[in-house]
């Protein structure tokens, strides 16, 4: 086996650092104490003991590090935009570099729609502090008060004389200016970059096929590996015979650890082929569960399970006894897989003196901690280099693949790139849990909601309710509880955890209640919010005004209730810290409902990158619609029935409706948008389908429901 051309591949993921001539301004972005900021001259960025930094070279190049893992949420463009805004940098001179894991950063992870909200003020302070020092340096040079100078487009300008100096020429002198204890941040009306559509800084690399992703990483001397894991949840490894696999061309070794049998070789294909030649025996360790068992369990636990009370207001029993009308609805969803396009993979090199990890993870800090514990090695001996992630959706919050790579490298004493196939990804777990909900509502004679009950039953779901979300606070008598079944089938956070299905169920049920009450679904929600505002039933953990505003704007933008040629469905949801209302429009085509258009109104506070925000809303809707419509993982004796895109259906281009996005401009600081646009979609679509067909969708995937079955 010989490689013919791979010079360009060596160290292609090595991070570049500003070298020569420049100086580095280091800032503590992550405390409000600007005194902690320090200026360094002629120090390589890697040596700076700070949380994060930007640097300015004498040629005017501004390097901004982006600490958080980039998986498509556009953080590598959005973060630097905030710094550059306050710095008054010329965006064309900004170079963005993906940072590696470093203790100087805080919350260096991707999850919970939290990056921009968390870092907003700190990023702004970083830019503003540097700008203050550059302006001060120019003023001293000119012998004028700093108040007479301002910064713009990477220059400091003296207002009266029009004299100007470039940032690059000022950087040296600026480094000697004492760091200000407080800096003034820009008024949002003066934003030039924030809120605009700057392009993704990695576009060129993406469209020319440059090595960016974990799977693209190559290191001279590394070996390739794949692992055979038990195909059934509940089984454990009993014995294996790797001799045939080991005799295959290019195979270096077959080793076993935990329940894994790993095949190590010289190329991906050779390893993939040899893995099929493994002879492995498994034995039962836990119950081998099937979807049929779960369906039965849901029914049993719904009525007889030991429920944990999550929230209780007033007296629900009393409210239901005295009700003029009682409405009940149950909703169920299957397990689903994250299945990002790039399968799991990680590079690890465990040496006697330390560990090198490279790859796509949403939580690099946790990967380091977990590997340190696994190998009993100090964290400061472990480095983690971040690659771009080919999607995450929550799957890469977990570092099982990084741990496997590290353990394997420690056994074979070689640098190794561990690769999962798509089948491995889909069958080895960490799914969105299967959940069933029962909602009950009590209405008085005037159609007011006087009682509300929700029970959630989930398989490894934790608490599958969000007990403090709307309509909690708007109903005087309320009981929310949950039951969990523990299963060997592993589950985890899937984009908009829990709310990705709960929002559908809740918004579909509220539609049922509105119809039963003889009220317009939009007005029904507004009435509930008005009630919550006037006489709250217990604690309110959402912002009534923000929710009301997105509801009203969505109704207005979609022409709610005014269209004759389409059936509209409404949904609104608060998740993480943002609010999104959606209206879906459905038409009937050849007897089947077809989603034509979805309107989305989002309140995520200040939009940083309009392009990125629009992407997150549209992508969230496509993701929410696609999985609600088509996707499911079912199980037989602990094994997933679906294992690749031929049996596990994802939404495709022809199936996406038109999407119209709007953002509320209310001057609130950013509240996050990676997830909140996804939860409302299923409900809006299901409610529009009810309008069109008179049929309620109660189970996902929708495609298996009666309204989607053609009459043959």
């Amino acid at each position: 086996m010989k490689s013919t051309t791979n010079n360009s591949r060596r160290d292609f993921l090595k991070m570049s650092a500003i070298t020569g001539g420049g100086l580095v301004l280091g800032f503590n972005w992550f405390t409000s104490d600007a005194n902690a900021s320090t200026v360094f001259t002629s120090v390589a960025p890697g040596d700076i003991n700070f949380n994060s930094y930007l640097s300015i070279a004498t040629d005017g190049t501004i390097t901004i590090l982006s600490p958080n893992p980039e998986l498509g949420q556009n953080i590598i463009t959005s973060f630097p935009m905030v710094v550059a805004e306050e710095l008054e940098a010329d965006w064309k001179k900004v170079k963005v570099v993906q940072a590696n894991l470093d203790n100087k950063f805080d919350r260096q992870l991707t999850g919970g729609s939290g990056a921009v909200p968390h870092s907003w003020k700190l990023l702004r302070n970083a830019g503003a502090t540097a700008k203050f020092m550059l302006v001060e340096a120019a003023a001293q040079k000119w012998g004028v008060p700093a108040s007479e100078c301002f910064a713009s487009e990477s220059f400091v300008i003296h207002r009266a004389s029009g004299k100007k100096l470039a940032f690059g020429d000022l950087a040296e002198a600026a480094s000697k200016i004492p760091v200000p204890s407080t800096v003034k941040l820009k008024d949002r009306k003066d934003f030039k970059l924030i809120g605009t559509s700057l392009k993704n800084v990695e576009n060129h690399k993406i469209v020319t096929g440059k090595p960016l992703f974990g799977l693209d990483f190559y290191r001279e001397g590394m070996v390739y590996a794949m692992i055979q894991r038990p195909a059934q949840f509940g089984m454990k490894l009993k014995s294996f015979d790797g001799s045939l696999a080991k005799s295959m061309p290019g195979i270096i070794d077959v080793v076993s650890f935990k329940n894994n049998v790993a095949v190590v070789g010289k190329s991906t294909w050779q390893v993939l082929k040899a893995r099929k030649m493994l002879k492995i025996e498994y034995e039962k360790e836990f119950a081998l569960e099937s979807t049929e068992d779960h369906d039965q369990l849901f029914l049993n636990l719904m009525d007889n399970g030991q429920a944990t009370v999550r929230r209780k207001e007033g007296d629900v029993d009393d409210a239901f006894k005295g009700a003029a009308k009682v409405i009940k609805g149950e909703y169920q969803c299957p397990f689903i897989s994250h299945s990002p396009m790039e399968p799991m993979n990680f590079f690890a090199h465990v040496r006697p003196d330390g560990v090198e990890l490279v790859g796509p993870t949403q939580t690099p800090g946790r990967a380091r901690t977990q590997v340190a514990q696994l190998l009993n090695i100090a964290e400061d001996k472990i480095t983690v280099q971040l690659t771009r992630l080919g999607g995450g959706f929550g799957r890469r919050l977990y570092n099982d693949f990084a741990l496997e790579a590290a353990e394997l490298s420690s056994i074979i004493k070689s640098p190794v790139k561990l690769i999962w196939t798509k089948e491995d990804d889909m069958t080895a777990g960490t799914y969105r849990p299967a959940v069933r909900y029962r909602f009950e509502a009590a209405l008085d004679a005037s159609g007011n909601l006087t009682g509300y009950k929700l029970r959630g039953v989930g398989i490894n779901s934790g608490n599958p309710t969000r007990e403090n979300n709307f309509p909690s606070g708007a109903v005087d008598n309320l009981l929310i509880d949950s039951v969990e079944h523990k299963s060997p089938i592993t589950t985890g956070a899937w984009r908009a955890p829990i709310t990705n299905f709960l929002a559908f169920a809740e918004q579909a049920f509220l539609d049922e209640v509105a119809v039963a009450a003889g009220k317009d679904p939009v007005q029904f929600r507004l009435d509930l919010l008005a009630k919550a505002k006037k006489s709250p039933a217990g604690e309110i953990r959402y912002d009534i005004d923000r929710m009301e505003a997105v509801i009203k704007m969505a109704a207005e933008k979609s022409g709610w209730g005014k269209k004759k040629d389409v059936s509209q469905g409404f949904s609104v949801y608060f998740s993480h810290a943002s609010y999104v209302a959606q209206v879906a429009e459905v038409v009937m085509k050849a007897g089947l409902p077809q989603v034509k258009k979805i309107y989305a109104v989002s309140d995520c506070g200040q939009v940083v990158s309009l392009n990125g925000a629009t992407h997150q809303v549209m992508g969230g809707i496509v993701d929410g619609l696609g999985h609600a419509m088509y996707s499911k993982l079912s199980f037989r004796e602990g094994a997933a029935d679906q294992n690749n895109y031929n049996s596990y259906r994802l939404i495709r281009m022809k199936e996406v409706p038109e999407i119209e996005t709007h953002f509320v401009d209310n001057g609130i600081d950013p509240t996050g948008l990676g997830e909140p646009a996804l939860p409302p979609t299923g409900g809006a679509v299901a409610n529009a389908i009810f309008k069109a067909t008179g049929k309620r969708l109660r189970n996902q995937p929708f495609i298996e429901e009666d309204v989607f079955k053609t009459i043959s």
Partner: protein, 152 residues
């Protein structure tokens, strides 16, 4: 194992591999051309799309023994400076979210535009429907293909 001489991006390259090795893994593991992506390995997602004699081909199921003297073009060879109308349109429309599927999307679209430089939206959808974008950037992919078609 045998030595295969391949015509890739206008160059003659060689790899010593088994006859059933998919073109995808020869490109990625042996020739250092990692722009072509592994997504599903069963020709369902299109992330691995390359051109073989001008036709959009799923390299994950295309054995090296079948390549022969065919001209193989990968994303790295689509244009010299990364300025093919599709690559420019992808930047103009800012198509990518995670970006992993985009090389395959572009190669699929490029083969179509060679055959049909002025496709309708329906024709674009019919061709691009074979490529999965898990982030759901379909609207912008469609728009970018349309834009590129006006520049070819």
């Amino acid at each position: 194992m045998a030595i295969y001489k391949l015509q890739v991006n206008g160059k003659t390259l060689q790899a010593d591999v088994e006859a059933d090795t998919p073109l995808l893994w020869v490109l990625r593991d042996h020739l250092g051309l990692v722009g072509t992506k592994y997504g599903c390995g069963i020709a369902q997602c299109g992330a691995c799309t390359v051109h073989v004699n001008g036709s959009a081909t799923r390299s994950c199921v295309y054995p090296i023994a079948a390549v022969g003297n065919s001209q193989v073009i990968t994303i790295e060879g689509l244009s010299e400076k990364g300025d093919h109308p599709l690559q420019k349109a992808w930047d103009e429309i800012d198509v990518a979210q995670c970006g992993y599927c985009q090389a395959g999307q572009i190669m699929t679209a490029a083969a179509m535009l060679k055959q049909n430089p002025n496709p309708s939206m329906d024709e674009i959808e019919a061709t691009m429907n074979g490529n999965i974008c898990r982030c759901g950037a379909y609207h912008r992919i469609r728009e970018a293909v349309k834009l590129a078609s006006t520049k070819i």
